[in-house]
Each structure stands twice: as C-alpha cells, then as structure tokens.
Amino acid sequence: MERAMKLPQRVASMPFRFHGGIAALVALLVFNAFFTPNFLQLQTLFVNISQVATIAIVAMGMTLVIATGGIDLSVGAVMALAGALAPLIFLSDLGSANPMLGVTLAIVLPLFIAGLCGVFNGVMVAVLNVQPIVATLILFISGRGIAQVLTNGNLQTFSNPSFSYLGTGKVLGLPFQGWLALAIACVLFWVITRTTWGRYLLAIGGNERAAYLSGGPVRRVKIGAYVICAVLAGLAGLIVVAINSASDAARNGNLMELDAIAAAVVGGALLQGGRAPIFGAILGAVIIQLVKYTLLANGVEDEVALIAKAVIIILAVWVQQFRRA
C-alpha cells in the first residue's frame, strides 16, 4: 500500500513520524544560538558535521539490524578492525610501491573483512538461531583483540593525503564524510521503501514467523542486514582513522555501539523491530552530537555529559511509548 504513496506525500508525513526528535533538535539549536559563544558560525557546523558523520553512518546500519528485531554490539570492534587494517595495507611494501593501488586496497579490503564479520554475525543469528546480543557479543569481545594483535597494540601514524581525504576532504565547503553519510542515507532509504528486500526487512521485524510462512527469504534478508551494518561500521572506522591520520585499535570505535543504538532509538527505531527510520537515525546522531557539543562548549565536564546522554535516551524511549499507545 505504501508503494502507491507518492514520494512528496511521504516526505510530507515524515515530520509527524519523529516530531519528538525534531522538537529536541530545534530546542538544542535555539539554546545554543543564545548561550553558546560562536555557535552560529561555519566552523561550528564544519566541526559538528565531521564528527557526527561516523555516528550517523554506524547508526544507519544499526537501524537496519534493529528493524529485524536484532541488535549489533560488534560495530565498535569492527570499526577498530577495519581501521587497523587500512594503514597496514597502504604502508606495506606493495602499498608504498603503488600508492593508487595501495589506497584502493586499503579501502576495499577492510570493508570486505568487515563484511565477513557481518556474515559471521548474520549466520549466527539467522541460521544457528543464536540470540543477537549473544551472537554479536563474540565479535564485540574478540574483534578489538584481533585488531590489537594485528598492530601489536601500537598506535599507527601515517601521512597519506589521498587516504585522509575520507576524513578531511571538503566538498562545497563541507566535510566529505557528511556528504557520504547523506548519500548512504538516500540509498538505504530507497532500498527500504522501494525494493522487495526492504519490504521483507520490515516484515521480518513485524512478524518473523509470518514473513517466513509467506515465503520470505528470512535468512538471506537478516544476514544482509548484519552485513550492511558491519560494512558501514568498517567505513566509519576508516573515516575515524583518516580524520586522525593515525589508527589506535584500543580507542577506535570504543563505545560506538552505545552511541549508534542511542541514535537509532532517538531517531524512532523500535527495538522490537518492524521500523527502519533511516533519516531518523541521522537525526538521532545529530541530536546526540549536539548534546555532546552543547555541554562541552558550555564548560560542562565529560562525565556529566554521560549522565545527560542517559537521561536523553530514557526520555526518547519514554516518549515513544505514548506514540505507540
């Protein structure tokens, strides 16, 4: 039925779907405009976009997994793994000899490995019927360990302008990764609303048994969701490494699973599954980033910011309850 709905109509109905989030965003912006010094400047926008992009990219993948009724705790570890691999590849003999090939491989191979992590998660969940929290717990524990074993726990620093473009490049004056996140969002939005895969994704989250009995490729779709989530996490890992011109396997993506889940939920994803608000995930990521920035810019300590984040998560889900009722 939704297929028959014209795009403009859908866009028109969108603010309704996550009005709570929009309201929070507007409140944050107004507060900052009045109280945060130098908030209304291009530089502030630039800093925030370059930081929010990684959260948004991971949160979109998480939204897909949550839409199937699952959860992926391994995203932070996958970020660390992909981020550790990239410098290893373009700093290797082959990579230094052929810079172009080196950088290409340094982007493609880590994403491929991240995809394999997603296959692992997906097979555990969809084929072996292990609960998602437990299945992704395995890579959560060992993924970062593998990354640290690969790098001996060392910080890898490098200077490679073409790779660093991922995190420091500008398009039309705004960070490249911001545009990248937006492009990914558009593609995923199209996939969810316009393809059978997307329809099945939502159907599985709504009622897995019914989706299976009506002949839906439940396993394939579920594995696909975990693979996309892992590849996006890998991409975010590469961006973090590119921003810093250094890869630290111990810190890259640390606690990202929490930020991503929080962003997805604030953006309107239901933990029971059945909904995949992709642009909501971006909105959620922006809100979380803005809260962090607001507190930081007004001299509130990082520790208190954690408590604020906790309150936001609770409030967002609490408000969700009313909408469902």
Partner: protein
C-alpha cells in the same frame, strides 16, 4: 517440580542438558590444568583464582536472575565501578559501614532500573544502557576521575586480602553464601518461581495473578546489590575505588550466564551452572597464564580477548546444537 523427593539423575540431565555442557567443560579444563601444570592444584592458585573471580560470580548471579525474567542488566559494570568508589570513601568507618553502604548504592541504581522498566515501561536493554552511562558518569563525578585509595588503617581491606577463619579469603565465603541463598530463593520461594514464570510468559503470569511487578523489581534490585557487592570486593581487593573499572563486565556476566545454559529469552536457568560458567570463563584466563608462564606460548593480553571470544563462540555453538536437539525431542 517442587515435591520431587528423590533425586533422579537421568531426569535432571534431561531437563538441564544445556547446562550440563558447562560442567563437562569445566571438569575437562580443570583436569587438563592439573595434568599439565605443577602448581595448578596448589592451595595458593585455588584461593587466589576464586578470590579474584568472586566479583564476577557475584555479578553473574544477579544477572542470572534478571535474564531468567527475560530482561537484561547492562549497568552492572559501571555500578560496580561506582560502588567501589563509594566503598573507598566509606572505608575509614570500617567494613561494617562500607559494605552495606556500597551495596545500598548498588541497590539504588537497581531501583532506578526497576522504575524505568516497570513504571515507565522502557525496554530493559535501553533502560539499563542509560543507567550504565549514568553510573559511569556518576563514578567519575564523585571521584573526580581519580582512583580513590582506601583507608588501610581500618578493617576494610581484610575483606579482599584477609582470610576467614585463616582458611579462605572472605570474598569466597561471602559469594558461596550468596550462591546458596539465591539458589534457595529460586528453587524454594514464591518469588523465585514467579521469576521463572515471568520469563516463560509475562502475560500468562499476570493473568495467573502472580505478583509480576514485585518479582521484576526484586531481580533488578538484586542485580544492583550484587554489582554493589562486586564493587566492595574490587575496592578491598585492590586497595582502591576505581571509577574506570568495570568496562565490559556486564558482557562477561552475560557470557557466564549464557555459558551456564540460561537462555536470554528467560523462563529457565540454573544458579550453580551460572557459577560454573563464570568459573569456566575465569579458568580460561588462568590456564592461559600458566601457558605463558611455562613459556610454551607467549600470548599478549590482546590474544586473551581473541581466545575468550573464540571460546564463547565454541560454547554457544555447542549449546545451540544441544538446544536444537532438545526442542526436537520435545516436539
């Protein structure tokens, strides 16, 4: 189930086939260690191993109750870090003040969880995720992001470093008592049975007139209290309140419970098997340390995480096959 008088081993095995794997694995690993290393069976290794793992067992016990209701508690690690700081601040007044004080602080966080989950009807995963952040922030705020040294003049460090009756470390005695008490609560009290019923079907339990909310509040308060106790062990065993500790503890605890054969969907579970699961995960580290000591391998700390994940993978794989077979038998 309650009026079972004679213990029927075969029936027990059939009912608990998922948790039997953990006992076999635990025994196999202990035998392996005894045969391979000279000092593995020494009293020192035995008591220091148990003493160190006491806090993880305490957390896993609380987590087991929460998971049996079909919930989850992600806040335990941060709460333990918070209460270790509380215990360190209270340590000058002695263990008789610091222990209850820290456990109460843990119960307080459990109360926040219970309020969010039962009154605000927020899914446990999200509610406890939020408390996890809040407890971590709180721990850093009250400690000023510093390690807080305990008072060495009082009797506080006796708990983590002294011996009860000159035999066992106190932590082991307390955790053994806690295990026994919780086992009795689960198997012999109304609230224990209600916990299992909720995990089986919350709606059905409600319609049966069981006191669902009371049992749910109980498990989150219990889990918070257990985390509080772990914080006391942490502070007294290492001589300091550590606001940055506890990262990933919730996941170790969940792993212990799962390895012990409890399903995350709730409705079933075993207290002894959970303890066995926690011991098994700890023992993997112990064995790796011995291997490192013998010089046959030299694994860095990073390998330990990889191996731990791989080990969890193996147990889950085994368990999913056992459960699949069990479901086939039951139809």
């Amino acid at each position: 189930m309650l009026d079972e008088t004679a213990f029927d081993l075969r029936k027990y095995l059939r009912r608990n086939s998922a948790s039997v794997t953990v006992w076999i694995a635990l025994l196999a690993l202990i035998l392996f260690g005894l045969m391979r290393y000279d000092n593995f069976g020494s009293a020192y290794n035995f008591s220091s191993f148990l003493n160190y793992n006491a806090m993880f067992i305490a957390i896993a016990l609380g987590m087991c109750f929460v998971i049996m209701t079909g919930g989850i508690d992600l806040s335990v690690g941060s709460v333990a870090a918070f209460t270790s700081v509380v215990a360190a601040y209270l340590s000058p007044y002695g263990i008789q003040v610091a222990l209850p004080g820290a456990v109460l602080a843990g119960v307080g966080f459990g109360a926040i969880n219970a309020f969010c989950i039962i009154i605000l009807r927020i899914p446990p995963f999200i509610a406890t995720l939020a408390t996890m952040l809040a407890a971590k922030g709180g721990a850093l705020v009250i400690s000023g992001a510093q390690t807080i040294s305990v008072d060495w003049g009082s009797n506080f460090t006796k708990l983590g470093m002294g011996q009860a009756f000159g035999l066992f470390p106190w932590a082991i005695v307390i955790v053994a008592g806690l295990t026994l008490a919780l086992w009795l609560v689960l198997e012999r009290t109304t609230i224990g049975r209600t916990v299992l019923a909720i995990g089986g079907s919350e709606d059905a339990s409600n319609l049966m007139g069981l006191k669902v909310n009371r049992a749910k509040a109980f498990v989150y308060l219990l889990s918070g209290g257990c985390a509080g106790l772990a914080g006391v062990f942490l502070a007294s065993g290492f001589g300091a309140g550590q606001p940055l500790e506890g990262i990933g503890w919730e996941l170790s605890a969940i792993a212990s419970v799962v390895v012990g054969g409890t399903l995350l969907t709730g409705g079933m579970g075993s207290i002894p098997a959970t303890v066995a699961g926690a011991l098994l995960l700890g023992l993997v580290f112990n064995v790796l340390n011995f291997e490192n000591g013998q010089g046959t391998i030299s694994f860095s700390a990073y390998w330990q995480m990889v191996i731990r994940g791989g080990f969890l993978f193996a147990v889950i794989l085994l368990q999913s096959r056992v459960i699949a077979r069990q479901q086939k038998v039951l139809g």
